[in-house]
Amino acid sequence: MAIVVVGISHQSAPVEVRERVAFSPGQFAEAFATLRAEPGVAEGLIVSTCNRMEIYGAGADSAAVIRGIEDFLHRFHELDARLGEEIYRYEEPRSIEHLFRVVSGLESMVLGETEILGQMKEAYERALTARATGKTLNQLFQRAFQVAKKIRSQTAIVRGTVSVGSVAVELAEKIFGELGQSQVMVIGAGDTSEKTARALLSRGAKTVIVANRTHERAQALAAELGGRAVRFEEFPQEFAHADIVVSSTAAPHHIVTCEKVAAAMPLRRNRPLFLIDLAVPRDIEPAVNDLDNVYLYNIDDLQSIADENMRARQEEIAKCNEMVAANVAKFREWLNRLPPGAA
């Protein structure tokens, strides 16, 4: 049995092309039936996420399987022209290597992200239920999930957070441990501050207080996040309750000063205070960081931690490549030992 993959991804084509060949959940039953009817395609499996659409196939002759998959794509999506350079067509061993790299997050837009593994497992389950796969692809995918797990635990490719929001969450956990008792305050209802607040809430933060110059906007965001809105002038009083403060106003000067924070610390019974300044120009006086039990990070601090973590991931690529290569060789050995026609 020869294993091939025909696919399209964020690396090979823009979204306008990718969306033409994407599959919606309702289409899969019909798609699997049509795919299996193509001559030469003995086994098939369809992956369709925002960043990639891939069809893995197995059959006696790899050229025939690739042709079958391309014909299927053309017909199923009613494309006016044959797909050219936008799609990649890999035969063994590249096809196996590609799958191992995809499940491990090595081909993802954000290197080392782990969401893809869940999506690939889902795609596999779907194909399995539709009886579109056989012995070869079943073995291949199970092996691929093992490889992803091994790479995840034995290298640092998924370690460290690589976005501003998740770095903020990680820092909050370094200060407070569990976030269950922590209150979040958002000053200035912007896009990044909202995302950061959501990330904190998803990790268990208790409630959100929102302050914004336009009070209506504060009320809207507070309602959306299940928190409460306060008048903009009143936010300094909230330092007594809030543990994590995300600030991103358009103010031209510092709106949070040492004086205000120092006055709030006794009211907080000296519990730590984590200040995140996402605004440019900055909202929070930098010297606040020198106060006891106060930790201030601005947007550049967060970004440089995220960049550093990304560099640490990139340093692991060589090690991952070695592991992938070794596992491809091992899998092909198994494949070649299969008696012809065993599948």
Partner: protein, 267 residues
């Protein structure tokens, strides 16, 4: 094999446990390991067996010279460390505690510490109990100092916006603050009981020891003041961490000297 032999075997096991935990950190990130705990527990048993042999040989609680006292306190430190491992998972605690333990046990290699023995030390169950409780309290207070040091490192990192190296694995500062606080409470409670025992038993036996009494009250006031400030939240975090290190350093620096001056605690 002598009692000293067992204690030095425990030294090698502690060194092994420390190196093993460093190896775990470097490698895969499974730094919380049962193997490490088992090693420390084996070291602790050897250590304790050595102390038991010594107690049998001298027919007294093994606190009659500097060597014995240091070994006893270190044994208490490891006991508190193992108990903390059962209750809380504090990553890197071993990396911070074991160097202290190893240095203390290794100091016993100096033969002079095990020379002089207070032959005329009074044998009394209550006095032994007084000493054992006081030394156990030092075990808890020593670990309060260790967690204080961990707090300061973590705080430094967060303030300086650095998160690299093995220190990135340190627990959250709030967790360290909480554990430090609890150790101070437990250590201070034991210290208080130990001192009260000392007064009561000392009075009953008509023993007098002014330098040691004054010193004990100073230590008690030091920890009491620190704890009171923490309980009322007047001090929290860095200053409490610093306080528990300074207080520990004071005890370490003056313990031997005061005992040299004292009549009943001399060895």
């Amino acid at each position: 094999m002598s009692d000293r032999d067992f204690i030095f075997y425990s030294l090698w096991v502690y060194v092994g446990a420390f190196l093993y935990s460093l190896y775990l950190i470097q490698g895969r990130g499974r730094w919380e390991s049962r193997g490490h705990t088992a090693l420390v527990a084996i070291g602790w048993l050897l250590h304790g067996y050595g102390l038991c042999l010594r107690a049998q040989a001298i027919n007294h609680c093994p606190i009659t010279n500097l060597f014995e006292v240091v070994m006893f306190i270190t044994w208490a430190v490891v006991l508190v460390y193992l108990m903390m491992g059962l209750v809380w998972r504090v990553s890197l605690l071993g990396e911070f505690t074991l160097p202290l333990v190893i240095a203390c046990v290794a100091s016993g290699l100096i033969p002079a510490f095990d020379h002089h023995r207070a032959e005329d030390m009074v044998r009394n169950v209550w006095l032994s109990l007084h000493a054992a409780i006081a030394l156990l309290s030092y075990g808890a207070l020593a670990l309060a100092g260790v967690t204080g040091a961990m707090y300061l490192v973590q705080e430094r990192q967060l303030k300086a916006h650095r998160m690299r190296g093995i220190f990135a694995r340190l627990p959250a500062i709030e967790q360290l603050d909480r554990i430090n606080y609890r150790l101070l409470v437990v250590g201070f409670a034991f210290l208080t009981v130990g001192i009260v025992f000392g007064f009561v038993v000392g009075a009953a036996l008509m023993m007098k020891d002014t330098p040691k009494t004054i010193w004990s009250l100073v230590v008690w006031a030091l920890y009491g003041g620190l704890l009171a400030a923490r309980m009322t939240n007047r001090l929290r975090g860095r200053k409490v961490a610093l306080g528990s290190i300074v207080a520990l350093a004071f005890v370490l620096a003056t313990f031997w000297g005061v005992n040299m001056l004292s009549a009943q605690h001399r060895f």
